[in-house]
Amino acid sequence: MYGTTIRGTRYGFPDLKSLMAKATPLRSGDCLAGIAAASAAERVAAQMALADLPLSVFLNEALVPYEEDEVTRLILDSHDRMAFAPIASLTVGEFRDWLLSDAADEEALAALTFGLTPEMVAAVSKICRNQDLILIAAKRRVVTRFRNTLGLRGRLSSRIQPNHPTDDARGVLASAIDGLLLGNGDAVIGVNPASDSPEQCYELLRLLDELRETLNIPTQSCVLAHVTTTLQLMARQAPVDLVFQSIGGTQAANASFGIDLALLREAHAAALALKRGTIGDNVMYFETGQGSALSANAHWNCDQQTLEARAYGVARMFDPLLINTVVGFIGPEYLFDGKQITRAALEDHFCGKLLGLPMGCDVCYTNHAEADQNDMDDLLTLLAVAGVNYVMGVPGADDVMLNYQSTSYHDVLAVRRMLDLAPAPEFAQWLTDVGLGDARGEPQPQALPASFAPLLERA
């Protein structure tokens, strides 16, 4: 039983997960689940009670039962008590103050990584303002490598997302070329296949690999098929750089995605064995998003933000090259409007970074959410200030296959220019070498390198 008394009114919370849920800033998904605070005052009361809680409580009380959930077992069994030692005596509120202090520099935060559990990080995020989430996350860079170096300070990378409603090869190629001409694609050139058929995915993999080889681009490609499809394709020697999978924060949520930890381990090992990375061996690409567990009725009455952080607890065991929250994709019943989407994205980025993940974000919304491109402009700028590793580059911000809006190739250019950010160093060098960019990797208008000619002929 947890609780606090404010001016004579007693607020009680029967267990840790209800305290966490009621301390969560308002969002529609927690209301839908029936676990949100009943009033604004109850929410702050929960935040006050949470702030006074020792961090060590999260090592003794599991929000999702240890015996019934392999994600809980993974989190608690892999907790590093040595790394936790420096903050072992702090409350959640004292931890926030420490994170904001000069003592919490980049080195100290990196050393703390595996001493933190997802639940601790989720808890402290709930009592942080947006400014805190940005300020603290900006201290923590997470660098990963495959064919280039992602996540360095002063850099902002992007995924080219050249989706096509029927996976048409010419259409995918045309969108990818447009992205490259605009200096995008250093994080990955990654297609969501319209069909999960292995043959179609094989064709797309070949197409993207050929594109990369022809232009000698220091980047990686990915077809975002289900992990079982990618496993099949790896067995057939398809050119798989990265293994993609959507993941969630409970065993049951992962089951709804058709996966478990053993399957992820198998895929990780298979991708490593291909040895396709030239300067590093981060070979996994994960996507997540608040609300996925609730939508699969796999949420154990936990709030969606805590479960999202638990998904990062899964992800970090596989040293991913890329992981991004697809924050506004799920719809208004989970994140109602631009305000809720923005808050969730900043929380996700913060939690992921503290847990040691190379966080990116699909800054996005659907047409039935109370949001528009202005909200995305705001969020993209905030995340870039917070040091997000990468965002999406979608032609004109309009995904014609998945029917939602994200950020565009041009948005990436705009933010790089506003905040003086550059692409990944190897990629920026390539842009300069082929004549697409100046010394900073900034695209030159109308540039068309001769090396693109054969591709243009085919498209």
Binding site: S175, Q373, V400, R416, P449
Partner: protein, 261 residues
């Protein structure tokens, strides 16, 4: 050093023709030009309007009855658009009054059609009757007993389970307005569920998506729906197992099955 030259206009138009994606937008510095920006705003405005629009149920009811198709009107438990968006559970079940009304139509039916606006009333207004007419004209009415067409306000896909169960139908086909995309504010989906009852999961349905003249055309959509109806009845199931088989069949084989049935 690199050889740079402007992309020739014919090359750009060739690339543009390969995809509906917004590629090679004219640049204004790091942004896009005013016209391209406003084109995007217009598309978003149309998609937003499509979400907010309400279905003109009276007109649709009259159009159905004037074609000799008996129809019945119902509402989901979601009272307005906001509760529809925030409470998916309410959009999946009938309100009490509607359930009572529907009970008086209960009978022994092979197939019940449900028309629900979902997230695009525009999709229903434009495409529901063409799809319905093409499908009904090909169904053998001596072996298919069809329930009155149910017109549902503020309904989600799973409302068809409640409706089908209340009517006593062995198969429910829900025609529903899909979530609008920027380039497709009027896309219609059809969800087919065998033995509909409350609690069916998505894995137990088959879906035809993106039905509109620029996407899955009417004739093709009706042909696929007929195939699925026949197979659902023959194999007494819908869902993943049926889907796997439908996708491995070549179009020619699909046609052959239609003829056989």
């Amino acid at each position: 050093m690199a050889d740079r030259r402007p992309a020739p206009p014919d090359m750009i138009s060739k690339l543009r023709s390969a995809t509906p994606a917004r590629i090679f937008l004219p640049r204004a510095g790091a942004g896009v030009t005013t016209r391209a920006t406003l084109d995007f705003q217009l598309a978003h405005a149309e998609a937003r309007d499509a979400v907010e629009e309400r279905l003109d149920v009276d007109t649709l009811f009259d159009e159905l009855t004037s074609r000799g198709l008996p129809a019945v009107r119902v509402r989901s438990a979601a009272r307005d658009r906001r509760s529809f968006l925030l409470r998916p559970d309410l959009g999946r079940r009938l309100d009490d009054e509607s359930r009572e009304r529907l009970k008086s139509f209960a009978g022994d039916y092979d197939l019940a059609f449900v028309i629900a606006e979902g997230l695009s009333a525009r999709a229903i207004a434009r495409h529901a009757i063409p799809i319905l007419e093409r499908t009904l004209s090909s169904l053998d009415r001596t072996s298919w007993k069809i329930a009155p067409i149910v017109l549902a306000e503020q309904g989600r896909v799973a409302l068809g389970d409640d409706i089908g169960e209340t009517l006593g139908a062995r198969l429910a086909a829900v025609l529903i307005g899909e979530r609008p995309g920027l380039s497709s504010p009027d896309s219609l989906g059809v969800y087919l569920t065998f033995a509909p009852r409350v609690g069916r999961t998505e894995a137990e349905r088959n879906c035809l998506s993106n039905i509109r003249p620029q996407g899955l055309a009417y004739d093709e959509a009706a042909r696929k729906l007929l195939y699925l109806c026949n197979e659902a009845r023959r194999r007494q199931l819908t869902g993943v197992e049926l889907k796997d088989e439908a996708e491995t069949l070549a179009p020619e084989e699909l046609r052959a099955i239609d003829v056989k049935n």
